[in-house]
C-alpha cells in the first residue's frame, strides 16, 4: 500500500459520520463504538466525545469550542484536528 500524507483539517470544515458508519454506546462493553460493514472500532473517551459532535452541522472550530466549554479547558484545537485527520483517513467521517 502506498503511504498517504495526513489529511489537512481546516477550521471551517463540517465533519459528519461517513455513510455506512454508525456511532453508538454499547452498555455491554461500557464504551462508545463505531460500527461499519462487518466491523467495529471501540473508541476511547476523547474520540467518542469528538465523534458525537460530528453531526454534519457543526464546524471544526465550533466542535473545538463546544468541547472546551464542556470540559472547562482550552487549547484543544491541535488534538481535535489531529484526531479528525486520522478519522478521515480511516473513512470514519467525511468533510464538507
Amino acid at each position: 500500500m502506498s503511504e498517504t500524507t495526513p489529511v489537512e483539517i481546516t477550521s471551517g470544515q463540517i465533519p459528519t459520520i461517513a455513510n455506512g458508519y454508525r456511532l453508538q454506546f454499547e452498555s455491554a462493553q461500557d464504551t462508545w463504538v463505531l460500527l461499519y460493514p462487518e466491523g467495529m472500532v471501540k473508541l476511547n473517551p476523547s474520540a467518542a466525545e469528538i465523534l458525537q459532535r460530528c453531526d454534519g452541522q457543526t464546524s471544526v472550530d465550533d466542535i473545538v469550542a463546544k468541547l472546551e466549554t464542556a470540559f472547562e479547558t482550552t487549547g484543544l484545537t491541535k488534538d481535535v484536528h489531529s484526531f479528525l485527520s486520522i478519522a478521515c483517513e480511516q473513512h470514519w467521517i467525511s468533510l464538507s
Binding site: G20, R22, Q24, E26, A28, Y36, P37, E38, M40, K42
Partner: protein
Amino acid sequence: MSSPMLQHGLATDPKATRPGPPLWLLAELTYRCPLHCAFCFNPVDFARQSDELDTEGWISTLQQARALGSVQCGFSGGEPMLRNDLETLVGEANRLGFYTNLLTTGVGLNEKRARALKDNGLDHIQLSFQDSTREMNDFLSNTRTFDLKNKVASLIKDHDWPMVLNCVIHKMNIDHIDKIIEMALELGAETLELANTQYYSWAVVNRDHLLPSKAQLDKAEEVTNEYRERYGDRLRIIFVVPDYYENRPKKCMNGWGNVFLTIAPDGTALPCHTARMLPGAAFPKVTEHSIESIWYGSEGFNRYRGKDWMKEPCRSCPEADNDLGGCRCQAFMLTGDPAAADPVCDKSPDRGVVDTAIEQAQSTQTSIVGDQPLIFRDPKESLRLTEPAE
C-alpha cells in the same frame, strides 16, 4: 475459518477471565440456495438438515443475543432472500440496535424488497460474485450473471448502502483477477474482497480443482497491488490468501467462543459455521437452551476456548497466543484430531499433508484435474456424498 470481517477491530481483552460477549451474531437463515457453487461453505450434508427456525425463533434469538451484547448481525445462508420474513427480521435487529449486514448473491433482490429492507433499517449489503452457472471457466463472460449483479449493484447505490463486493477466488478464475477488479470498478464498488477459497465443506470435495498454484497466487497479488496503487481510495481491495500458502495458522474466528456466534438454520448454535463437522457431543440448540447458557456454559462453546485444551507443539509454543493453535475444523479434516495443531503451521508434524496438496496444485492445468469431475453443490449431490456407510 478466516474472514475479513474479523480483521477490523473486534479485539478482546486477553486478560479477561470470563469470555466477552458474542459480539458477532451470524444468522444462517436457510441452507436453501438457487446457486450451485462448487466452493460453498454450507455443510456437505445440508440436504439432511432442512429444518429452519420460524420467525418467532429468530426474533427470540436476536433479542437474547443483543441482550448479551451482540452488536454486529449478519443475515446469511444459503440465500437469505429466500426467507419471506427477512424484512421482519432485519427490522427487529435494527430496532434492537444491531448493525445489520445482509450477505447475498443478489438473486431475489428486486426494487420492492430493496426498498422494504431499507425501510426496515438494513445497514449494509455484501454482494457476492459467486458463479451461478456450471460454465465455471466462462465465469466472467457470462452475461446473465453480470446483468443481474449490475442491476443489484444499482439498487445498492440507489438506496445509499455502502457497496461491498465479495468474489471467491480459485484456480479457475484467479488468472482473471484484473477483470474482476475492473468489474468492481465499473459497478462503483467501494470495497472489494478477493477472498481465496478456503478448504472446508464443498471446497474440500473439489480441492484439486480449486487450489491455485503458487505462481497464480503471486501473480494475482501483484496485479491486485498494481490496482491498489492506481486507484487508491476509490476502491479498497482486500486480498485473502488461502491458508495453505501461509506458514502460520490464522487465529480462527478470533478464538473459539470468543466473539463469534453462528446460528445454523435449524437453531443449532455453533462457534463457527463449519464446527458441526467436529466429533463430540452435539452443539446446543436455541430452541432448547438460552443463548446465555449456550455461550457461557455449554460444553461445546467451552471445548476449545482459551488454551487449556492444547497439545504439543501448541501447548509450549511462544506464539500460541497469536493464533490459538489455528482452526479446529482444519486440524480435524487434515489430521483426524480436532485438538491437533492446525497443519497449516510449519511447526505442525502434519504440515506434510498441506505441502502435498500444494504440490498437486502446481499443475498449470485449469480445467479438468484428475479423474473426479467438479462437483456442484446441490441437494442430490449432498445426499449422495453423505450416504451412511452400509
